[in-house]
Subunit: 256 residues, 2 copies
């Protein structure tokens, strides 16, 4: 059997440590191609670049595989790789390892998960990996066995059409992970704050910050799993329809 072709991207940028872990594990499993942003693109959501020209640069090659950096977003990277691969479809897309949780509502802001959802849109099996710590200096080697196991499962079983996985790995120093749990996305929102500052010309500017507010206390969610030191695996899809609401709204008077 020929080796699977695995496309690797992230949103923290090609020089972030998290993507190195994915490169190392995926090289054991298949042939790889790396296409990632040339700088951090966190919080880019499903943005695409249409108003400035896209650039791409081969930043590493060793005869076995190539790494390309682009000035685009994670979603641009997925689209660009289709161009680089001359429309050969990868067998798997992996994105991450993101430095910071993409569980719960974080998925919607995440460039890492946007790349994964772009895979789902194109019916390519895709997995986003994140670890619940922002530091670029922690040792991520403990994540490798989970990354490998989940990737091998997806390559073996496939995923349903237009479906991908959002995998979040808890980081509690010195506490071993208890296992893997399949979950649903927890309901939550961010309560934002704007920090006001003045520039040297005395003009106001603002930094967006916020607090994560969980509004879901059930034990079947990704956030519960993480808080209880399990790896959280949420199957995700890209249909935003609220099916339960269709019949409700059909009762409204829409006569104009």
């Amino acid at each position: 059997m020929s080796k699977p072709l695995i496309l690797i991207t992230n949103d923290d940028g090609i020089y972030a440590p998290g993507i190195r872990t994915l490169i190392r594990v995926m090289q054991e499993i298949g042939d790889i191609l790396v296409v990632a942003p040339d700088k951090p693109q966190s919080g880019m959501g499903h943005a695409i670049t249409t108003t400035i020209p896209l650039r791409i640069k081969k930043v590493f090659h060793n005869g076995e595989y190539n790494e390309y950096a682009t000035n685009g977003t994670p979603v641009d990277c997925i689209k660009f790789s289709d161009y680089l691969l001359n429309r050969i479809r990868p067998d798997l897309i992996v994105s991450g390892i993101n430095h910071g949780s993409n569980a719960s509502i974080n998925i919607i802001y995440s460039g890492t998960m946007a790349a994964v959802l772009e895979g789902a849109i194109n019916n390519i099996p895709a997995i986003g990996f994140s670890v619940t710590d922002f530091s670029h200096h922690i040792d991520l080697s403990f994540t490798e066995k989970y990354v490998r196991k989940i990737a091998l499962n997806v390559l073996e079983h496939g995923l349903p059409p237009n479906t991908a996985l959002n995998v979040n790995i808890p980081y509690f120093q010195d506490q071993p992970v208890k296992g893997i749990r399949v979950c649903r996305q927890a309901r939550a929102y961010w309560k934002e704050t704007f920090e006001e500052k003045k520039d040297p010309h005395n003009r106001a500017y603002y930094w967006l910050t916020g607090d994560f507010c969980l509004t879901d206390d059930k034990d079947d969610t990704d956030q519960w799993a993480l808080d209880n030191n399990y790896v959280a695996v949420v199957p995700v899809q890209v249909d935003f329809t609220s099916y339960n609401t269709i019949s409700l709204i059909n009762k409204w008077d829409f006569h104009v």
Copy 2:
């Protein structure tokens, strides 16, 4: 009864004609606040701005209402308005009128709809309006009665928790709209192309373009409604979980 407070944004920028239609109609209905990007932010998806400082400028006021322009994304605008309103919650958020369809998979790339989904996340009733024509020069007055009717329905009935509406209005010159249909999101994807050019230094750069590929031929979708000259109303939500897939993946071997 006091007038409802209506927050208005878009992704084509505060100087685009579409938002003027919303401002006109919403002024009839309630008290309004406009917070919109200072330049086009199409295709920004659910991006937020965390790496550069945010700026905000009052660009218009007439004693009745204020218009603010920001250098941020549509989602930033929603978050910023919470700050401007000192945490007073609007009764309704409207976004648009977007110049171009946000039906089907376009929702995931859309800044207009990201602002609406940000409303849903915060449990504020929100509606995104789009018209299926990119021109900034068409007469949008035919949309006003649909915008008014749908907004009044949402103010009267409310929306279920964490739910919003994606409203797309067809534009076929000289053909009257047949009515309003409640739909689901059509399955589709974009088949992208990269147009390669050379800059004056002979370095390659690329423009992302693509073709919309519908993979769904049922008559209950938003795309079907638009193609048949109906206004498409899709109730949308922000839970990405693929519930059907949870039991399937629970059968995998996750022992590490």
